[in-house]
Symmetry: C2
Subunit: 533 residues, 2 copies
Amino acid sequence: MKVPHSSLLTLALLLNHLSSVSGGKILVFPLDGSHWVNMNVLIEELHAKGHEVTVVRASDSWYVSEKSPFYTSVTLPGTGGFEENFETFLSPQLEIRLQGKPTSFWSHIWTGIQIQQMVINQFSQLHNRMSEMIVQMFEDENLMRSLHDAKYDVVLTDPGIGVGAMLARRLQVPLVFNVRWTIQGEAHFLIAPSPLAYIPFTATELTDSMTFPQRIKNVLSYVLGMYTLSYITEPHYKPVVLRYFGPDVDYSTFFLDADIWLMRNDFIFEFPRPTMPNIVYMGGFQCKPAKLLPVDLEEFVQGSGDHGVIMMTLGTLVGKLPQDVAEEIAAAFAQLPQKVIWRYIGERPAGLGNNTLLVNWLPQNDLLGHPKTRVFVTHGGTNGVQEAIYHGVPIVGLPLFFDQPDNLSRIRAKGGAVILDIATLDRHIFADSLMTVLYNSSYRESMQTLSRLHRDQPMKPLDQAVFWIEYVIRHKGARHLQTQSNKMSWFVYNSVDVIAALLTVVLVIIFTCISIVRLLWRMIFVGRKVKHE
Amino acid sequence: MKVPHSSLLTLALLLNHLSSVSGGKILVFPLDGSHWVNMNVLIEELHAKGHEVTVVRASDSWYVSEKSPFYTSVTLPGTGGFEENFETFLSPQLEIRLQGKPTSFWSHIWTGIQIQQMVINQFSQLHNRMSEMIVQMFEDENLMRSLHDAKYDVVLTDPGIGVGAMLARRLQVPLVFNVRWTIQGEAHFLIAPSPLAYIPFTATELTDSMTFPQRIKNVLSYVLGMYTLSYITEPHYKPVVLRYFGPDVDYSTFFLDADIWLMRNDFIFEFPRPTMPNIVYMGGFQCKPAKLLPVDLEEFVQGSGDHGVIMMTLGTLVGKLPQDVAEEIAAAFAQLPQKVIWRYIGERPAGLGNNTLLVNWLPQNDLLGHPKTRVFVTHGGTNGVQEAIYHGVPIVGLPLFFDQPDNLSRIRAKGGAVILDIATLDRHIFADSLMTVLYNSSYRESMQTLSRLHRDQPMKPLDQAVFWIEYVIRHKGARHLQTQSNKMSWFVYNSVDVIAALLTVVLVIIFTCISIVRLLWRMIFVGRKVKHE
């Protein structure tokens, strides 16, 4: 085979880049929980490329272990059980959702408000703990000196919480985000123009094609979101910001410091929308080809014959469900000729069919990539949805909280998913939805198309991510990719002053003209009248 | 050397792409003149990748030859001397600019208005000829049938004029742009949000950091631009659009059809600004490492010793200058210890120094890449400026028309250029500017930084361009990267209807509240008064 000239050049270029940044020093400030899962993928890759990674973790971290072959860690005093609270965080929400069984429009809204209120309260506690953590960290002179003296090349953080960004500014080190959400919701809203006529705001479950009432909902949601940001979230950090950065600094500005935004997203998953020069899309960077299944699982899967397999998991955080919901799900599965693999750690449902295998854990990626897998029943976490896209498997969605409804509504809009409300779920609804996705080929075809498009990129998403982190190391930041709008008030950004000035000039001209005409009118006609009289 | 795993994967991916689209059929509708130069680079590369390229050209084309080893051509009847007019087009502008010698603010404005008027008139003629060309083309049934039957995979066009886009819609073939300008000015303005507070409008010579008066100028220029578009440009095409596409179609919408916008630009050259999912930056894709100079030229260059070489060219279209201007330039060069290579086909200036070599043509890229080259004196055409960035050579700019002032003002803002007004040029000003750029190291350092950044990309710009053209072929378009905003009126896009509705509701509520309070007030107090009375 003749290798084209330009490909060799590209390879040479790539190797050149790889060799030119060996041994950068990277300080990682992760977000705990499921966010850590994909941060860890990045860290392993950075480690493999020869970089020295240090991870800041809380002493009681659930996910981030102190020892790892891929990084050294700096442990902060406990943050009051960030993860434990994360659990107590979710259960009440789930309860409300399940008790709600909203039958009308208004009860649906009421459930929404209750959950919203609970989330705001829970996040308030989280923000309080985070601002305490900032104080502890910044006041620990030994820690700060050692972080400073380590002369990191870049801080890599997940800006779901702004602590990492604040630390980067304090240390005056370039900043890279591994991001899907900021304190303001979906990350684009903080940095890119987002016309509300076709960009659905966070947690609205809307698409880029909205009716007039939907557009009203979208604008109102945005207003509510901005209100929450200004009057609920930001005040938690005001004292800290004032203390360490002075009175002229706004909490949101720390986020705009980022040299590069590595977005866990792409335009196969997300609706097309305006973007910015320093946003790099690495959606699905954690996806890999499937590995072989364990022998017993492979045997079970092969036993499905042509009917294939359904796999179900609601994510690490939700291993069990109320017994009545579990029974409905089990009964629906039992009606089907497919085999079912269900990750469930609750009490075994009485009506569980012979075709259904309960497991404590499942190799999600390997199962999604298995040729026998027909449907993925999921809560709609970003990682799972990305893997479903990567492998082209259609979805029956049972969204629970956070970004899950939004994630799934995107896949539904693109023809790859049916979404159910867990509060109104029964065996008939569930079985019907499974049958629809199993036997209406359009769902599978849509996901296969998304898969083909997702895989067809100039560079693998993980390589892109590493390239841009190394880029920031090589050039000591990427300020030349940040727009001037970062420094502007909304007033100047929207040219309000210019428009006001121009309108004033126009009005003055009109007024002057009218005055002159009136004066002339009087001089001529009133003058004449006087003559006539 | 150990080749990293992921690089091999990237290479494999790349080869996979290359092999999966062998033999696409590409119909190219180029823009003549300097735009053809870079379209031709793309065509050669596409040909090398095994694609079959057909080029639509005018019978009297100046640049686009009928026969080529890289493409077959389809020749349209003469368009009334598009290129000849292009020449007569420029000379009068240059004359105005040179005669103007603007000494005051108002004479400067007056020169600007005169040139603007002339450009509008000249473009009007061009647009008329283009719309005649469209009619000739669409009415030629044999031609249209053969184009249709050829079943092209993609139309590649430069949308400086919209004919190619219209042809693509007529043939219902996916569309890719090789673009820097559309009928509306700088291409981003048609497709991406462009806040006028920091995005300088076309031909303003402003930067992304504007004072209040500059922002006023920017907004007014934009308003003028939109006026020109709606009332001068579009009417030329109205009858044609009506005839072939019906009454509901707007000329601008043809441009929004493009699946991919290959932008001859990047954020090293351009100021950072919002962008869109279907914009791909391939700025400098035509740049190549320098080749060896011809022996005699190399000898001349080496003769410069440590002083190095200055090269000057004002582009293919402007080979000569008025004698007095040429004399001033020659005299300035004669004062310097550098060697000078000047592409000049006019009469030899009397005061030409021994250090200055006049040439009819020069190997611009090879000279820019020569280690002895110190300064590039240029009119600021996009190709030349990109090559200067690529090789890191500082600029003394003599902008003449079109995008040249804007191109150069970007490089000046980034610290790599001094700009002169050719109308006020004399030997002292010119020599001073040359000395500044020669001996103040910051100019060279800035260009070297831009060069380093420009060259540090995940993929070579030309490979990117080819990748995305092949992407469109593979997936029969890239509609999934087009935003819904393309289909929206400005009214909906800006949520004017939603805001109006919400304001109405707020006003009605306020009004109702006031009414009720007044009613109660009356009932209580007026009632009492009645009782009291």
